[in-house]
Symmetry: C2
Subunit: 398 residues, 2 copies
Amino acid sequence: MFTFNPAFEAPTGSPIRELFKYLTQPGMISFAGGYPASDLFDREGLDAAAARASQQPTLCLQYGPTDGLAVLKEQLAHLMARRGTPCTPQELLVTTGSQQGFDLLLRVMVAPGDVVLVEQPAYPATLQALKLQEADVVTIPVDQDGLNVDALAALLESGTPRRAPKLLYTVPTFANPTGATLSLERRMALLKLAARYRFLIVEDDPYGDLRFSGAALPSLLALSEQVPGSRDWVVHFSSLSKIVAPGLRVGWMLAHAEILRRCVVAKQTVDLCSSPWTQAIAAAYLASGALERHLPRIVEAYAVKCRTLCDALDAQLAEHIAFHRPSGGMFVWARLKGGQNATDYLRACIERNVMFVPGAAFYKDNIDPAALRLSFAAPGVADIETGVRRMKQALELI
Amino acid sequence: MFTFNPAFEAPTGSPIRELFKYLTQPGMISFAGGYPASDLFDREGLDAAAARASQQPTLCLQYGPTDGLAVLKEQLAHLMARRGTPCTPQELLVTTGSQQGFDLLLRVMVAPGDVVLVEQPAYPATLQALKLQEADVVTIPVDQDGLNVDALAALLESGTPRRAPKLLYTVPTFANPTGATLSLERRMALLKLAARYRFLIVEDDPYGDLRFSGAALPSLLALSEQVPGSRDWVVHFSSLSKIVAPGLRVGWMLAHAEILRRCVVAKQTVDLCSSPWTQAIAAAYLASGALERHLPRIVEAYAVKCRTLCDALDAQLAEHIAFHRPSGGMFVWARLKGGQNATDYLRACIERNVMFVPGAAFYKDNIDPAALRLSFAAPGVADIETGVRRMKQALELI
């Protein structure tokens, strides 16, 4: 009866969100969601921040500037400086989660049929946003050192795709879903390619602070200072969702002024402004120094959970499941060595009251049906061990 | 250096937001913004609601469902029932302000070149959203009884525009900027037209609860029950921004399930979910009954401000400015009788430390250069009287 835009004629929702219904199954242990652990939220610090924010009721309750509250932008600039990428508040746009930043960028820059490069496997909401924007998505393979920059270089050199790519999306540090981190060498090479072929690198960095081991690598944004001509081609997204709380819906983006200015215009019609109330809470939280106190606690907790999961997989399932130990983030990317279909395996696992996300959700093409993503962030340590035992039992069902 | 999408090549921001810089001029009295009065926010009620919400930290801090928190949707369904439009929570989508609802609807339904009908003068962010979506906007004139439905009928009957319109946007109750309310007769006629010509009526209703005088008219959504075939063609937006606080960024939409489902899919990629924290606060606020206690207070306060403004205009400027007394909302739409240009007049007013929005901001075409919008919501009563005196003095400058 209604005529919808082509991309919305028969839309499919998030394949991960489709799994939510099983979460309520009694006793379910889930490695599925990309959610941070609720019991690790800094409730005390956030309550204190909320109390401080409420002392400025007009700031919290009234409309705010489209680009974000000045008090928050100042704190985010400090945070970026601590991460090795000093910037001014004017270079930042506060978004309703970093998801919004990517969406704004697509609106401003990507028309139907435009070529967009995406690492693969990739964050499903990225693939979905590109599909709804009717972009021509070209996937670039990923290995344990992140995006295969040689494959990208070969592609660009070969002159395919025919249209010059507009942008490339990557999570270079502790990627979702692979947990992989792009090596320094590849980072430099990627920046050179962006400068040479003039495409935007979209560096999505929600997990970078969650490092368990090894030395921190500079972000693409930080490294761009060293690669002539590359700085303007980096758009950087980050978020408080994984390190503070997703419920704040506070993300931010850094981009060339010409891009940022247009994203602000787009945001005026998209939601006028992100909630000034949660922005004020986030600003008070960051200003209090609570994040510096909180981060080591969650990094330690996630490190223990990650080790628990990987040790259990090694102990119980080494014959059946291959994986790489990530050095940070929230995800272990694994593969059924026997080549079984991970969706069949998930069905068996749900019967045993354990869940994960089949890898297919992270592919646009060339799906590896044996791949699967395990998130160790949300479940407790004991549940992680129990969950892996159940996964072993479930293997017998397929 | 970058290639932007056509709509973003040379974007212009909100003409109203461009005026913000003058707001900081010392002693400025502003009739410009569409902001609710900060001193009328129910701080006590909202503090209590925030305290209650914080007792469910996981609900506030974790990701929430894309369609909105169940506790909030339940309260919004009660609110809609009190407004004469009972609905189930499943029929509602919570949005980041109602601005987001319109944007989601455009994404799902309006392709570049699609015909969209808009009352004129109209809310500028609506015109801007349609421009960025590259819709073919056809304006329908408005008088003191709201949208001129006869003109619309004539247009539709004449077979222009050539393409069937996808939707029609209207604020039928206490419109922005005109303050006009669509008569009952016109409401019925409009619903019949929608059913006959099969276009969506987008009923934007942020101000409906702010009635100072006269009997409430049923919404288009409510009336659609009486007009066969029209119910499916009404999409209804509302918001807590004008009656509680914009900083919550809580709006909602009601639409046919086939439309709503697609808007949820769009929202997954737009911001995943609106802030569950402010949703939980809004739910606690509504559940406490605070809105029913608060509404009469703000309605009375805005009624006094509106009367003050209209009385002062009558007393000081009757010879020079024509206007209609609105029976609710936040706006008085006025016209310089001498046909002077309102933008020139604004310049003179800014020199005298008083501001309004020139009417041009509310037009896509056929601009009335002598029109202007005055909002009485934000300034205090004494400032309203002073502001009108200054407007009189400024008249001598042009």
